[in-house]
Structure formats: structure tokens, C-alpha cells
């Protein structure tokens, strides 16, 4: 057995009310990739923060290269050769690549930062590991994949021999993700060990040497890709057998419900975020919108739901044309919205479940009468939603903020679905919620479709798009690249479109 670079021994960590890690042990060997798999809230982040010195374990200890250590902070972990690439990049956007890499460990010449020496070292590193980069590029001008490379180089510059990657593929196209997995594989050949945190089963099977599965803060399984399958891993994560693919019938599209004609929308900074996009969604079909986040999806959803004005173009909902409209005017047309950010746009945290259950129609009968809310009617309504949509809560009078992510989302879905709707706009409807709730929400969205609702599904999870959609639209840099029939599309095809590559361009 080769050298053990990093280990946790019976680590436990308690937060008020939660046992985040319960006697967790794992070992990372030199030259191997350890995948840490688990749902949101399973304790992955806590464990990684302990390994990186951000938290101290209540019990147990961390072992680095055979030595039992008591990490005092991230800098302590860094000096012992642990490098971490955070899910949200820790880079200073207006600074150059070389400055970002050396920040905190700058080479010094006569009291000033020796940028020449820094540049030499960065170039040397990028050659050695085959991670090509322009050291003088400004970080904010770089694509996400390149920024991630800067993060990796930052760790390597500090002589890391363990690389902790926290959900590294979430922001990448499938091709970029594959490339990253290749890079990690090569890095292990130079003797690094990698801890790879993810909830994507496919990637785990593709790249890991060892797999550790966490559930409710405990290690529930240790395995290798050879011994398991996607279904096996999912079962370990959730604790029961799950349906990874939703069964669905063939769509029976009817009349056009939503029609966009050369719709252009600006983002918050006044830049064009959506450029003359045209498509339509029909009754009884799900149109999935795929794309790497930040390519205009948010602006698209906000425009359709009335949260953001159009800069040009036309939008038709049913028979009504809109060039501008308030959210209420649009909602009155039978448009339901599952917003991307449920904390910000979906719920009001300090309001009770009851109040939240009528946020979209408290002003109408039967929920209010002559300007006064009818609490009893609202309460009955909320109880109906909680029952039907399986929202786990002690009562309907508790504040919405007390719910878990999955239950919040079920409450929103319940609210939006408890009215007659013609169009459902669902943005990232299953982000950050547990597999059980994902299954449930997927099922409900399909039910809506089968009832004849037109569904626009926007998701950064390609598997979700592929699993639910009848047709798939791909956005890249605010442009609609193409709309494909689900049967004719696959991961590779869509991945290329997500990177802005069309057939004509790739053959040229």
C-alpha cells in the first residue's frame, strides 16, 4: 500500500441541533482520487472544512502524511500541503493571473513584489503540469474553466500534494468537465492525491479510484467504481432504492401557449444578455433550456415572468401579446413560476407556511374579502398543500425559513400548482435538494405536462434536462443555439452547443 497523504480518524462535529459528522474516517493515498459522495446536507462540506482547517473536529483527528495534526486554520493546512479549490472560486477578479496565484506567498525583491520571478514560477508550473495559462491575463476576463485552472495552479504553487476539489464540475460544460477529470487524472500521476466532492454519480464512476459515501453525517459505504453502478451509488446516498430515470409517456403537444419573437433582454449591467431569441412552448410539452449558468437563462426566466423588462421583441402568452408587463398581469394569465432562488424570490422566510402558500393570490377570493385576509381559509389551503405535496413540517404556522431546502421547494411547487395554470416556468427546480424531493418534483412536473400545461424548464443539470424534456433549447452567450428534439439529442451534442460550437463551426 502506498503512502497515505490525508486521513480522517473517527471525526465528529456537532452544530447546534445537528450532528454534522459522526465518527467519519477516510484515507487518501498518494496518486489516487477519492470521491466523496453525498446529498446536500450529508456532511461533505463539514468534513472537507475540517480537513482544510476551517473547523475543528469535536472528536477524532486529522492525519496528514502519517502525522496526527491539530489544524489551526487554512494557512496551517496549506503549509502542510493541502490545497483546496472552492466551489465558488476564491480569486480576485480585477487582478492578473500571476498576482492571484502568488497572493499571500509573494516572492519579494528589495521589499517589493517580484512579479518577474512570480511569472517565471507560474510559467514553470503550468508547463510541468500541462496547465497552460496566460499569466498576465486578468482573471475576470477568463472563462470559468480557465479560472478553475488558476485555482489549481494556486494550490500547486503552494506545493500542495493533496488537492480538495469542492463540486468542481457544476459550472462547466460536459466537455470542460471531462477535460477537468483528465487533468485530475494526470495530476495524480505526478504523485498528487485528490479529494473530489460531488453529487454527480457519472463523474464518480468515471474518475474515482475510491469512493466514500456519506449520509446524515455518517460514512454509509466505501467502494470502488468497479464494484458498483449509478444505481448502487444512488441507493447508498439515499438509503433506499431510487428511480434515477423518470418514466414518462410520449408528449402530446397542443396549441402554442408561450411564443417568443426576437426577444432581447439586458442584464443588470445593461449588457445584452439575451439576443433576439425566438421559440415557442406548446400545451402538454416540456421545453428544456440547457446551458452553462450565466448564458442568459436567468434573464430569460425573469423576462417571461415579468421580473425584468424586455429591451426589444415580443412575447405572447396565450392570445395576449406583451412587450412589458408586471408580474401580476402575467401571473393572472395562468403562468406559474418556480424561481431559481427560492430564498429570495420563492418564499418570504419570516412569513408562515400559510402566508407563503397564498403569496401569488392572497388578494383574490376566497383568500381575502374586502381587503382583509381570511385566515381560516388560508390555513385550510395551506394544510391542503402540505398534505398533497408532502411538505414535512410540524405545523403550518411555523415560519417558512424553518423548513429544509427540499421542503421549501415542495411548498413553492405546491403553491404554484394548486391553481389552474397554462404555463409553468421552472428555473433550477431541484437545485440543492435531496434525491427524494427531486424525484417527487420531477413526477409533479410531468403530471402537469400530462394535464396539458406548457412547461419551460431551465436547469444547469444536464441530466435533469435530458430526463424530463420533450424538446431542448440550448443557450450560449445569450444566443439560442438550436432547439432539438429530445430523441435526437444526447449529452455530447448538447455539450458542444453549450460551448457555442455548432456543426458548421466545428467542421470548419
Amino acid at each position: 500500500m502506498s503512502e497515505i497523504l490525508l486521513g480522517a480518524h473517527d471525526v465528529s462535529k456537532r452544530f447546534p441541533g445537528v450532528l454534522a459528522n459522526n465518527q467519519v474516517s477516510l484515507q487518501l493515498e498518494r496518486g489516487r482520487i477519492l470521491a466523496l459522495l453525498g446529498e446536500n446536507g450529508a456532511g461533505k462540506s463539514t468534513l472537507v472544512n475540517i480537513l482544510f482547517g476551517m473547523y475543528r473536529p469535536d472528536e477524532g483527528h486529522v492525519i496528514i502524511k502519517g502525522e496526527r495534526v491539530d489544524l489551526r486554520g487554512p494557512d496551517d493546512a496549506i503549509s502542510r500541503g493541502i490545497g483546496m479549490v472552492h466551489q465558488h472560486f476564491q480569486l480576485v477578479p480585477p487582478m492578473r493571473v500571476v498576482e492571484n496565484i502568488v497572493l499571500g506567498a509573494e516572492p519579494v525583491l528589495r521589499g517589493l513584489v517580484d512579479l518577474g520571478e512570480a511569472r517565471r514560477r507560474v510559467i514553470e508550473l503550468s508547463r510541468r503540469y500541462g496547465l497552460e495559462i496566460d499569466p498576465d491575463a486578468v482573471v475576470e476576463d477568463l472563462p470559468v474553466g480557465m479560472q478553475q485552472r488558476v485555482e489549481i495552479l494556486k494550490a500547486l504553487y503552494r506545493n500542495a500534494d493533496v488537492l480538495i476539489m469542492d463540486e468542481p464540475t457544476g459550472v462547466l460544460t460536459p466537455q470542460e468537465a471531462d477535460h477537468l477529470l483528465g487533468v485530475l487524472r494526470e495530476l495524480t500521476q505526478t504523485g498528487l492525491g485528490v479529494v473530489f466532492i460531488t453529487h454527480k454519480l457519472r463523474e464518480v464512476l468515471a474518475v474515482a479510484d475510491d469512493i466514500v459515501v456519506l449520509r446524515n453525517g455518517e460514512v454509509v459505504g466505501q467502494t470502488t467504481p468497479g464494484e458498483t453502478s449509478e444505481n448502487g451509488l444512488a441507493e447508498m446516498m439515499v438509503g433506499r432504492s431510487v428511480m434515477l430515470r423518470v418514466d414518462k409517456s410520449v408528449a402530446e403537444p397542443g396549441d402554442v401557449v408561450l411564443e417568443l419573437e426576437k426577444l432581447s433582454v439586458e442584464d443588470d449591467r445593461g449588457q445584452i444578455a439575451l439576443n433576439e431569441v425566438s421559440f415557442e412552448v406548446r400545451e402538454g410539452e416540456i421545453l428544456g433550456v440547457a446551458g452553462v449558468e450565466g448564458n442568459g437563462q436567468r434573464e430569460l426566466v425573469e423576462a417571461i415572468t415579468g421580473l425584468r423588462g424586455l429591451s426589444s421583441g415580443l412575447m405572447k402568452i396565450g392570445s395576449d401579446e406583451f412587450t412589458s408587463g408586471s408580474t401580476r398581469q402575467i401571473a393572472e394569465k395562468g403562468v406559474a413560476h418556480i424561481p431559481e432562488d427560492r430564498e429570495k424570490h420563492g418564499l418570504i422566510g419570516v412569513y408562515s407556511l400559510e402566508e407563503n402558500s397564498v403569496l401569488n393570490r392572497y388578494h383574490r377570493k376566497p383568500f381575502s374579502l374586502r381587503g382583509f385576509l381570511r385566515r381560516d381559509v388560508i390555513k385550510r389551503h395551506a394544510e391542503g398543500v402540505v398534505d398533497e405535496f408532502d411538505v414535512r413540517t410540524p405545523s403550518t404556522s411555523v415560519p417558512a425559513s424553518s423548513l429544509s431546502g427540499g421542503n421549501k421547494q415542495k411548498l413553492i411547487v405546491g403553491r404554484e400548482f394548486s391553481d389552474d395554470i397554462d404555463l409553468l416556468v421552472a428555473a433550477q427546480p431541484t437545485r440543492g435538494i435531496d434525491i427524494g424531493a427531486i424525484e417527487f418534483i420531477h413526477r409533479r412536473i410531468l403530471d402537469q405536462r400530462d394535464k396539458g400545461t406548457a412547461v419551460l424548464l431551465v436547469s444547469a443539470e444536464l441530466d435533469e434536462i435530458l430526463g424530463l424534456s420533450d424538446r431542448i433549447a440550448v443557450l450560449y452567450d445569450g444566443e439560442l443555439m438550436d432547439v432539438l428534439d429530445a430523441e435526437d439529442s444526447n449529452r455530447e451534442k448538447i455539450g458542444l452547443l453549450m460551448a457555442g460550437i455548432t456543426d458548421s463551426k466545428s467542421s470548419a
Binding site: 486554520g73 494557512d75 476564491q90 480576485v92 487582478m95 497572493l103 499571500g104 513584489v113 494556486k154
Partner: protein
Amino acid sequence: MKLHQKRLLYAGLIVLLVVIWIFYAANGPQTTAVLAGTVRAATLLALGAMCGMIGERSGVVNIGIEGQFLLSAFAAFTVASMTSSLFLGTIAGIGMGLLMGWMLAAMAVGLKVDQIIAGTVLNIAALGLTSFFYDRSRSLGVGKYTNIDLGPLADIPLVGTVLFSRPPLTYLTMALLIVVHVALFRSVWGMRTRAIGEHPGAADTVGIDVLRLRYFNVTIAGGLAGLGGAYLALEAVGTFSRAMSGGRGFLALAVMIFGRRTPFGAYAAALFFGFTTALQNQFQLNNTFDIPPQFVGMLPFIVTILVVALSGLIGSMRDPAALGQTYEKG
């Protein structure tokens, strides 16, 4: 700076020099007086702007510069008058600036008080304290700082008088511009300072103590404002009077923004604002316009409003991303 911007800058400078030369040929003493007044007024603004930019580059807004000027001017004047030493007075001014910087840091960084409120506290405290302890009978027995000629350089017509026959704190300020520039953009300290103002989380993950560095920077920057106070009392005016900073601490913030939070940029902006002040003085002296002097006195402030509004329109200036936000670890 991009190439075309550089060209524009040089072209502008040449035009400016030609204009100055024409005016100098037409009326030498007047032109000299206005330009000397420009440099005089710019010194205080440059010191305040440097104080502000070190704070803002680290993510802390300092709107207490006005108060720092005022209380430091008071301390400098009082100590200089008691000890009959301008040098000790200057040290006292800087010390008071540091102390007020430290107070701002303690509130805004340590206790995480809203930065605008913390700065306002300084302004109100300074006005109240100086008004209360103001002693009308006290005077500066030794007289204010006098001009020092820099050898033959001082004999150059116009330029010599304007730049090389100045009192000591003006020279010190010019030197500090270079020091702060190098420190901000070339030193380890400067790189880390800019990092904590843009993305404190990133700095934290590479082992930089964000709160400590902000604490340090806001305190040190206070020393610059303190020097400004000393300059005001001991070099520019030669006495202390109630509320003598007269809004120039706020003007310094405009200068800082217009100068893109760089020392040289700020000095250029300070010279511009200083020019409007000097011009206004000259107008009043000559009675150029037949309107009440208060209206002529408004000139620098009207120009400030116009310029800041315009520079907002022109855009392309961006605040440090973490400006005004307190930093929580984790």
C-alpha cells in the same frame, strides 16, 4: 492605462502647458499667484484623498476625513502653540490622525458598525470637541511654516515659484504621493490591500488576516489625514479657527474618486479642484464679478458636483467590490 488614453493624456498636458504659457505671457504675476494657490489648495486634498484611497482599497469607506482634518489641525495648532515648535505640532497632528484612524477602524472593522455611521461619528465628534476646547486667545507664536527654496530650481520663472519654493509639508506630500503609489501597486502590502478590498474571502483562504490588515490600513491612513490637519493649521493658514476644514475632507473624497483611487490620479484631480479654489480667490481679490463673494466662493463646489456627476456618466470607474462591507469569516 491603455495606449490611446495615454496619448490623450499627453495631448491634454501639452495643451495645458501652452495655455499656461499664454496666460503667463499676458499677465505674469496673476498667473503665478493662481498656480501657486492651486498647488497650495491641492496639498490638503491630496493628503485626504490618499487617506481615503488606502481605506477604500482595503474595503473601508472613510467619510470621516473631514473630522480627521479638523481635530488634527486643532491638535497640531495647540501643541505647536504650547511648545513653540512647528515640528512637535506636526507630530501631534499626525498622532491625532492616527488615533482617529484607529477609532474608525475600531468601529467599522472591529465592531462592524456601519462604515458611514462610523465616519459620521468622527465628523460630529471633531466638530464638537474643537468647538468646545477652542481657545480664541491662543496663537501661533512662532509663525507658520515658511517657504524653502530648492536651490537654483526656485529661480526658474513661474515653475520655480509654483513648485520649488514651497513650505516643507508640501514637499513631504509630494514625496508621499510617490511612496503611496509604490506601496499600493508594487509592494506585498499593496497587493494584499487591494485583494482584501476586492475579494476578502479569497485573501482569507490564502492566509491573509483580512480584519487585521483593514485595521492597520485605516489607522495608518488616518496619519495621512492627520498630516493634512497639521498642514492646514501650521502651513496653509497659521492658526486654528472653528470648522476650518470647511468641507475639504469631503472634497478630498471626490478628488479620490475622480483620480480613480490612485495617488497620481488623485493629485491631478486635486490640482484641478485646487485651481478652481485659487481662481475663486483671485476673482474675489480682484472683484472680477459684481456679485456677492459668497457666490464666487461656491465655484469649487459647483465644479465638484458637475465633475463627479460627469465622471459618473463617463463611467468605466469601478469601486472595489467589497467596499463598505464588513467581513465575516467562513
